[in-house]
Symmetry: C2
Subunit: 364 residues, 2 copies
DNA sequence: CTGAAAGCGCTTACAG
DNA sequence: CTGAAAGCGCTTACAG
């Protein structure tokens, strides 16, 4: 996009203030940056002249260029930014992250992601930041590549896992295993999975838990593996568990996938969703199809966003500390900016939260 | 905070790539910015050398300085950033705003506000942005002042109202009037108000609707005026309606204020809250005090955030288009960056949403 | 199609 | 306590 800089009314500059006063630019600069380097009286005169000329103080970009820092960190998100704000888990994450940036007096620059086809690495190349936090992106995302090329500090959250890069996440496989284990311990044998994108290609594949696709998304891979392991252990064959992919992590997509799953024969008695958002959609689908939860259908989610406690029935799910994740990620990045020792990867705890949406299987 | 730029392994620069190839910096620059200005073969060589040297492309800050644009817009929020993410109305607003920045290929820089005492205008002075959107701030906020001094395009959302500056908001007075009018039409005569900060001072004042403080917050002033007008019209004296201030727009503060209000004599039969967040707190307080809503107490909110439809009972409230507000604000700012004609103020529509939390007064 | 020159607005040793 | 000089990394007319 083209901006026309206003030619009239040129903004005052440091040099202009210096000229007005007949002092050197260094002196004006010092008035702002090192008050102890000049007499209080002179400093007063400088500040007064600045105010008179409408000089707003040193230009952030020029100062940043000179000093070699931008004063902000960038956040990369898999999807459009507007989707990020619609995703409660992401909002919690940003909340934690913002605590860290506030502590450090840094700004938080949210970059516009986009659908895969329209993704433009230039948004990363042009971002005025001192570092990036990569939030849950695919293993081969060009934006991640672009961030790496910037050669600034980076921390990765959830995915992709890149050898040697600071990381914060959870043990997705173990957490998923706990979820599936819970259902299996309740006697469920006919299950279904509502998943995120696994291969990042359209049209969405329908697969089963017995397959081991080299998913584009590490997190999906790990959770699917966890589900499969728990089932296998209980004597349920993963290859008989259908997996439906969702193009987006939205309630609507979860509903669609669940409808398909619930129209299959034999109908699953339990559905595992890779996120609470998707699980909410499963609940919607069940309601539409007049299946009552948990009597006719058990549902388990993943994330434990606050809304999960408010559904009818309240959602049984896997808790993970979203806010804490953001806080840690931010602090890790800031530690790198200060060039303290490169932070160790952090794996945060998860836990099964038993509420009302899953119960004992009755029909066999 | 101090960052130590890594002295080892200096990052490659455009000049370095030029030197490597024996061409001028202009040529390397053209390879990135005006591919048509050099032969494809030469461009290939340049890009190849860049890759070889690990040159990540033109530095965003240097480019920005030269071109006079930052590629991002800044958002100013009244409170700590972490509170912004906890406020559903604000998150909806940011969602709309991010649609606009995405359209324009701009980043969204969230700036750290802070409690009034710790507020640092430098965060505004140092922000690398092409313009600001000021989201609902007090009439005399130093951060707004600092943004004004930057002499970049600005749009103001909700407050403060500054003559001549682009604005997007709602008719707060009329909306509040509709809310109070609804309660009054249901026969309520003993009312109470749970408000935001009005004067921005501690300790929080307790006042009544008959007072007309020159509130620090235009929105609070207007809504209080609207409430008072509707009551007066119905023959209820505003000076008998207690107003309790909340230091923050949180559920917890709303609960606290409501408890005080409900402990007064005579107990109000209806409470008006200046936001849904506060109204949720009122609902919490009623539950704690074993007052059933709406039988013992009618409650009306303001905002119509999605959660309002999910409470028990669902909240009667005033709807306003948060996402649309963000979208419009963003587009107005971007229009100014392109220096199209300065946008006209926009007043967005509101509406009373009748749900279950307010009913006819019974006890008189 | 390519390059020399000027300059965006500032800060930082360093010399006085 | 103050100033001259160099330079952060780039882009943009302009001349050839």
């Amino acid at each position: 996009m083209d901006f026309n800089p206003k030619p009239s009314e040129r903004r005052a500059t440091l040099k202009g203030v210096a000229a007005e006063l007949g002092v050197s630019p260094a002196t004006v600069s010092n008035a702002y940056n090192r008050p102890d380097q000049l007499s209080p009286a002179l400093r007063e005169r400088v500040l007064e002249a600045a105010k008179r000329l409408g000089y707003p103080g040193p230009d952030p970009m020029a100062r940043g260029l000179r000093r070699g820092r931008a004063g902000a960190i960038g956040v990369l998100y898999e999807d459009r930014l507007s989707f990020a704000f619609a995703d409660p888990a992401e909002v919690l994450f940003l909340r934690g992250l913002s605590v860290a940036t506030e502590e450090a007096g840094l700004g938080l620059l949210l970059l516009s992601g986009a659908p895969r086809e329209e993704r433009d690495p230039a948004v990363v190349g042009n971002a005025v930041v001192d570092g990036f936090v990569v939030y849950s992106m695919s293993d081969d995302d060009p934006l991640v590549q672009a961030a790496l090329e910037r050669r600034v500090p980076i921390v990765i959250v959830d995915q992709p896992r890149i050898e040697g890069l600071p990381f914060v996440g959870i043990d997705d496989e173990a957490a998923a295993r706990a979820a599936a284990g819970h259902l299996v311990s309740l006697g469920h044998e006919r299950l279904g999975v509502v998943a995120f994108e696994i291969l990042a290609k359209t049209p969405k594949a329908v697969m089963d838990l017995g397959q081991h696709p080299s998913a584009t998304f590490r997190v999906s891979r790990a959770r699917l593996r966890g589900y499969a392991a728990a089932l296998e252990e209980a004597g349920v064959s993963p290859s008989e568990v259908p997996v439906h992919e969702c193009a987006e992590n939205t309630r609507e997509e979860g509903r669609r996938a669940a409808r398909e799953l619930l129209s299959g024969e034999p109908r699953p008695t339990a559905i595992m969703a890779l996120s609470d958002q998707l699980a909410f959609g499963v609940l919607d689908a069940a309601k539409e199809m007049e299946l009552s939860v948990p009597e006719d259908l058990s549902v388990i989610g993943f994330d434990d966003v606050p809304e999960a406690a408010q559904t009818t029935p309240p959602l049984t799910t896997i808790n993970q500390p979203h806010v804490e994740k953001g806080l840690r990620a931010g602090r890790m990045l800031i530690a790198q900016l200060r060039e303290e020792k490169p932070p160790e990867p952090e794996i945060l705890p998860t836990g099964l939260v038993v509420r009302g949406s899953a119960t004992r299987a009755t029909d066999h």
